[in-house]
Amino acid sequence: MNDCSILIICCEKMKETVERASLENSAVLALPCLGRIDEAVILRAFRKGADAVIVAGCVEGNCKYNSGNYQARRCVNEVRDILEEIGISGERLEILNLSPNQAVDLVNLFENMKEVVLRLGHPDILGAER
């Protein structure tokens, strides 16, 4: 079951780090700043077949626009509550604050996120392209 698909949402600055980590079986969605993510984007990702979503942004305080990663954390917490209410485990969604040269943290999180997906299996979503 290596076909688990994980979406990584990151900001402009992180894009290069995420690509350098070249994680297989993952898709990358880059936005001008993490502050742009709203709940609908993450919920849409799950709806379209993502087994897990990692939100990767700069360390809090380093965001070029100052509030990007704070807002992303608030959004992730809100989505986790909604997922729990709907019946999807909140462990499938994680936010990670790292500095551009710390790709290793992303790889580690990616690995144990895979284990989470292995343990929990696919959220059998009818509409998702499989």
């Binding site: 979406l7 990358v28 001008p32 700043c33 849409r44 077949g49 305080g61 070029k64 100052n66």
Partner: protein
């Protein structure tokens, strides 16, 4: 052309560096401010009314003795320095020694360093001056009383040299100073010392005059203690929160004399390069039909870009918008957007990115 604000030392170095980089500096000083004359730098006394436009193409409106002139500048450097607060007590201050030299005084001299907001260099200046006074007349007695001796890095050698020359440092918190007599308790040992000084020199509090005035004109923020807020770490050391506006001088960060020099030159260099690389960010736009005038965008944007216009709807100033998309996310009526991050575009982006993952 580069606009340089401020009349102090930092602005001189910045202007000099701008010329060295081959650009033309325009120095702006407030009418009531004093400034040091620089031969080949045009200095203007006036009030900055507005600073619009983007990096590489700013328009500065300056009111010079009741006549409003427009200047087109590529970038700006705010090189304002802290000035000592005029203290009401009549004793001699550190800065006054620098001007009219008291080097020839004798007897017991006490240098008291306990101002709440001293300039970062006050301790080193005090130690250097003490050594000079001691060299001039070796038989005078000098005490330096301070809760903590703040000489950094190489200046520790000065501190050591001063002690070798017999300058006595007392680390004291409670100092009673009345009618010519001083009672000082040395904190580490607790012993009380009685000193009758012939001359008392103190260091003064520093303040940034008119910081709010400049911040408003340039739409940049201040720290709580009134200094100019630096841009975020990822923007670089001498940046402000606005592209194309750079900060140096002690009004943004407490600096040692050497650091003032490097920070002024750095700001000038960045300003010259910025003026030659115009920045075209596509700013967010508001669909006035949908706007509920709920002020969320005004409240969340740290760059003061959105404001409510006279029609009661939100309007985003193109010059200040960093196109980060925070307001696009939080606008409850989804009235704000710009190319690439609208709700539909983002929804399709998620669909595409996941579809090609599954192929």
């Amino acid at each position: 052309m580069i606009l340089i604000v401020g009349g102090g030392k930092s602005s001189e170095i910045a202007a000099e560096e701008v010329i060295r980089q081959g650009a033309v500096p325009l120095r702006l000083v407030l009418p009531e401010e004093t400034f040091s004359f620089l031969p080949d730098v045009e200095t203007v006394k006036g009030r900055l009314l507005s600073f619009t436009g983007v990096q590489g193409n700013f328009q500065a409106e300056i009111e010079i003795d009741r006549e409003v002139k427009k200047f087109n500048v590529g970038a700006a450097v705010i090189a304002v320095d802290e000035t000592p607060k005029v203290s009401d007590t009549d004793c001699i201050t550190l800065s006054s020694i620098l001007e009219n030299n008291y080097l020839k005084c004798s007897g017991t001299i006490v240098i008291l360093l306990d101002a709440k907001k001293p300039s970062r260099a006050s301790h080193i200046v005090a130690v250097e001056k003490a050594i000079e006074i001691k060299d001039n007349n070796p038989d005078c007695r000098i005490y330096i009383i301070t809760p903590e001796v703040r000489t950094f890095g190489l200046d520790e050698l000065e501190y050591c040299k001063a002690q070798k020359k017999g300058i006595i440092f007392i680390r004291a918190e409670d100092i009673k100073h009345s009618s010519g007599k001083m009672k000082v308790t040395d904190s580490p040992s607790g012993k009380v010392l009685d000193i009758t000084p012939d001359l008392v020199i103190t260091d003064e509090e520093q303040e940034v005059k008119n910081a709010a005035l400049w911040a408003k004109a340039f739409s940049i923020n201040l720290y709580e203690d009134g200094h100019f807020r630096l841009g975020n770490v990822s923007r670089g050391p001498v940046t402000s929160m606005r592209n194309g506006v750079f900060l140096c001088g002690t009004a943004s960060r407490a600096l040692l004399p050497r650091e003032m020099d490097t920070s002024a030159r750095a700001a000038a260099t960045r300003a010259v390069t910025a003026s030659q690389t115009p920045l075209m960010l596509n700013s967010a736009e508001v669909d006035e039909e949908k706007c509920a005038s709920c002020m969320t965008c005004v409240r969340v944007c740290l760059f003061h870009a959105p404001s409510i216009n006279e029609k009661g709807k939100s309007e985003i100033c193109r010059d200040l918008c960093q196109s980060c998309g925070l307001c696009v996310n939080l606008c409850p009526a989804s009235a704000i957007s710009f190319k690439g991050v609208s709700r539909i575009e983002l929804r399709n982006a998620v669909d595409d990115v996941l579809r090609c993952l599954h192929e």
